[in-house]
Amino acid sequence: MSVAAIGQPVSRVDGPDKVRGTARYAADFTLPGLAHAAVVQATIPQGRITALDDSLARSAAGVIAVISHVNAPRLPYRPFQDRPLVDPQSGDQLRVFQADRVLFNGQPIAVVVAETLEQATLAATLLRVTYTPERAITQFDEARDLLKPPPASASKPTDLGWGDADAAFAVQPLRTDSSVRQPNEFHAAMEPHATVAAWDGDRLTLYDKTQWVDNDRDEIAHVFGIPPEHIRVISPFVGGAFGSALRTWPHVTVAALAARVAGRPVKLVLTRRELFSAVGYRPLTVQRVRLGADREGRLAALIQEASAQTSIYEDYSESVVDAPAMLYATANMRSAYRVVPMNVNSPCPMRAPGTATGVLALETAMDELAEAAGVDPIELRLRNYAETDPHKNLPFSSKSLRQCYALGAEAFGWTNRPPKPASRQEGSQLVGYGMATAVYHTNRAAASARATMLADGTALVQSAASDMGPGTYTAMTQVAAETLGLPVAAVRFELGDSELPKAPVHGGSMTMASVGSAVQAACLALRDKCRSLGGNAEGIEGYRALLGRHGLDRLSADGQAAPGDEARRFSMYAFGAVFAELRIDPELGTLRLPRLLGAYAAGRIVNPTIAHSQCIGGMVGGIGMALTEQGMWDPRFGRVMNASLADYLVPVNADVPKLDALFVEEQDPHVNPLGVKGLAEIALVGVAPAILNAVYNATGRRIRELPVTPDKLLL
């Protein structure tokens, strides 16, 4: 029996559990004797703690322990052999309760453990902390004097270039020089970060919100100086993360430390307000792009400069200038990416880290160039179409961007675009269309999986992967079902446990490519094993009979998949084109987005239903970036003042009318055995510039600072 499961619109296999409320997230785990923790965060951005009086807190009802730098056990923080991939690659990580130094407002400085959450929370307010404040760096624009190149890293290029971009720019007949500023943006996932930590002698179990159980285990092993084998991390469900649960943040150490000192299992759930400084965010970034072109708009020079905030203790950097270097053909290119250390907690990847940022600046600049050249924005992009990767000098493994432009433009009705800015008015509203290119690199990493045939003819497939929402459970089940020749309902996929076969980080849009390939390999191995037992068993009945004949209650096979040399031979990216229509009431500054459409080419689409929902979800993130989301920073306190979901505005349904995502069929034999490209980050890329370009088309005004709020649109 051959079963086509890949490519089918299978409903989420974890859907019923989520709907019934039986899916268990980190904070849902409870253990006998569980105690509760509340953190105390610093309220100054830089200085020393000169006194910390915890006597009131200690004598409060139910309090089991109060831990701060005064009494915390010294933690080894063993040197890393290699830094975790998901951590900044230089600087010193923040150490929990090891010194009196405060490096940012919101830094954890103590934890209270009590019998109940209410008791812990109350006692945490009873700590009396005295500080000696020091001069803090809290103004980005002042701190830009301090900007420095982040340490060079192959995966995050900073200074790229070829030719002589400055000289070429100077002599071009068409030149644009534009800037864009974006505020820091927060992941604001529904599920707060939470950890339940339980020690059994020198063994630790963590129930945690994480996108990478293996890294969680390794990080805590490094902090506590214990063998990783002594730690088990369990994380079956993640309620959205968007990158905030890639690295292991200090609160996980806080929970483990609290459990150790209290001698009890401890649950720590961060509050919404705490989350804004306890985990990272997309950094405030300022960019300038200069484009030089001939009269037809053919690029001769591209100069892109970006500076972004980082913390004073780590150099967080992201690949802002990577995509701009490969997106268009140009003979001369120069880019510079700099980081600005400030008294903030370290930023971290947020959906399409760096790429969304770099593409924002480039694609709004391309809109300006299209206008300067007097050509349609799509035509301009076609004139500058990169047939090969101009930066890596490699052919693309596949590139269907032309088809994305065509499919998207057709479906959207791009030809109806008002040809001139501010030229179409309907009632009190100005109408504008905008578009932008989307791109995201296709990566994969080594992964492994185990496939087990059970006596009843159903299969269990496992890997230490994660599913923060994109549908890992479902997609892996489909791959396994098709490979084994079983119906989807006869396969169960398990993830989120560090005891399972190793998987890479659930980020960078590479889970499908990496874990999917390993699942396929494990299932192929299992099939071979079954075949070697004789016969051509397929289907539930076939497998059941086979195992029965051999008196087996199970039969397992492991599979691995690792990148080959494809990345050396090809430049690998998913591409897309995003189209937006806006209506702006220039008198009131109100903006409505009736339509947003993305056309994507991302290799093989494993599940069209989930892919579609994944894409429109990413587009909503892009709407937030463009229109509503911003950390409202107060430099006097070094604090984000709108740290709540009432004040940090993510788009609501009313902001998001008609969304559509279309897929260009694409076969890519090079990227990985499954032929899939990532389909997570790309959906956020290009949305903000498409909207900004539409704002210009509607009003004739370039908005150079996100988000586009009514005050910026008042004409």
């Binding site: 929370t121 307000r273 107060d634 306190f637 003042m641 009432a646 505005l649 709020t709 009514p710 008042l714």
Partner: protein, 327 residues
């Protein structure tokens, strides 16, 4: 959260007596109170849940419409009489919060919700309203949502209620009952300006409860609209809002106008001078704009909210024009 005792009396006199004890707080829908308690802005020792009191329901009376203080926002918004005779109120309600919040939130509680000033809501910063004498960082900080009218050098917090803006335009009366007996006071007199003591927000006495609201009927109430402008399309308080009600003479000119604005005042902000100046005005953008211009008088904008002055004038014009279209 500090431990507290809790009671839910059915007898108003018991509730008032309990609520009058220092350290006690009243709980209605709890949609604001629970947030304030969780984040430590309020730390009552005793919580009096008033949901058992007979203050719920809507009735049309000779005076107008009487709405019990415990009536949920969603119930009021669905009331046919209110929709007919006082559309601005329904529109203000429908533009408030979310359906879930409106199912729980009460009419009385809405008027007494605390400000959304970011510093008031974040315990880690100073704030005169939360901690008298600690300072007002909003003056020179993130004050995008703060007020341009009625502020002092101690506080410029906006009164965030949408409902109150609509109600104050329509001369709504607040009925209360307290240890000293019942009172009827104009909604316009319920809230105090911050002055030197921004922590005291209303004229209510300890233990005094709002029992009902009475909104008088009028031609201007019938022909009324609410316009709310904000950063996202729903589920957010107003950057600027305008409640307008008009009565037209036979020539189509304004005979009488009711006008209040939201998002800009430290209390629900009525504009009596503009109401006067509108009498006799034609309902056209050209005729209304010069009058709306007067609304900017006395505004004291700060760096982050200066745009509100112009936005308010435009909102006023739009709201009046929209009211003119009500049939």
């Amino acid at each position: 959260m500090q431990p507290f005792s809790y009671s839910s009396p059915a007898d108003p006199r018991v509730a008032m007596a309990e609520a009058a004890v220092p350290g006690a707080e009243v709980l209605a829908g709890g949609t604001d109170m629970m947030q304030l308690m969780k984040e430590g802005q309020r730390s009552p020792r005793h919580v009096v849940d008033i949901n058992g009191l007979p203050y719920r329901g809507i009735a049309v009376t000779a005076e107008g419409i009487r709405i019990g203080a415990l009536t949920r926002l969603s119930e009021a918004a669905e009331d046919q009489a209110l929709r007919q005779g006082w559309p601005v109120v329904v529109e203000a309600l429908e533009a408030s919060a979310s359906p879930q919040v409106r199912n729980l939130a009460t009419m009385g509680g809405n008027l007494l919700q605390r400000t959304r000033c970011l510093y008031f809501r974040d315990w880690a910063t100073p704030c005169n309203k939360r901690q008298p004498g600690s300072g007002c960082p909003a003056l020179d900080g993130q004050n995008r949502n703060n007020a341009v009218f009625g502020g002092s050098d101690r506080c410029i917090a906006t009164h965030a209620s949408d409902l109150a803006v609509a109600l104050v335009a329509l001369d709504t009366l607040v009925l209360t009952e307290g240890p000293n007996g019942p009172r009827r006071l104009p909604l316009a007199d319920l809230h105090r300006l911050p002055g030197d003591s921004p922590q005291v927000e209303t004229v209510l006495q300890p233990g005094e409860l709002i029992t009902a609201l009475v909104i008088p009927a009028s031609a201007a109430a019938r022909r009324s609209r609410y316009l709310k402008l904000r950063d996202r399309a729903s589920f957010e308080w107003a950057l600027v809002s305008a409640a307008a009600g008009i009565d037209l003479d036979t020539g189509g000119n304004i005979r009488e106008a009711r006008l209040a604005v939201g998002g800009v005042g430290t209390k629900p902000w009525r504009l009596p001078r503009i109401e006067q100046a509108l009498i006799g005005a034609r309902l056209s953008p050209e005729a209304l704009r010069p009058v709306a211009e007067l609304a900017g008088e006395g505004a004291r904008p700060r760096n982050g909210n200066a745009f509100k002055v112009e936005l308010m004038k435009r909102a006023i014009v739009r709201a009046l024009l929209a009211a003119g279209e009500v049939t």
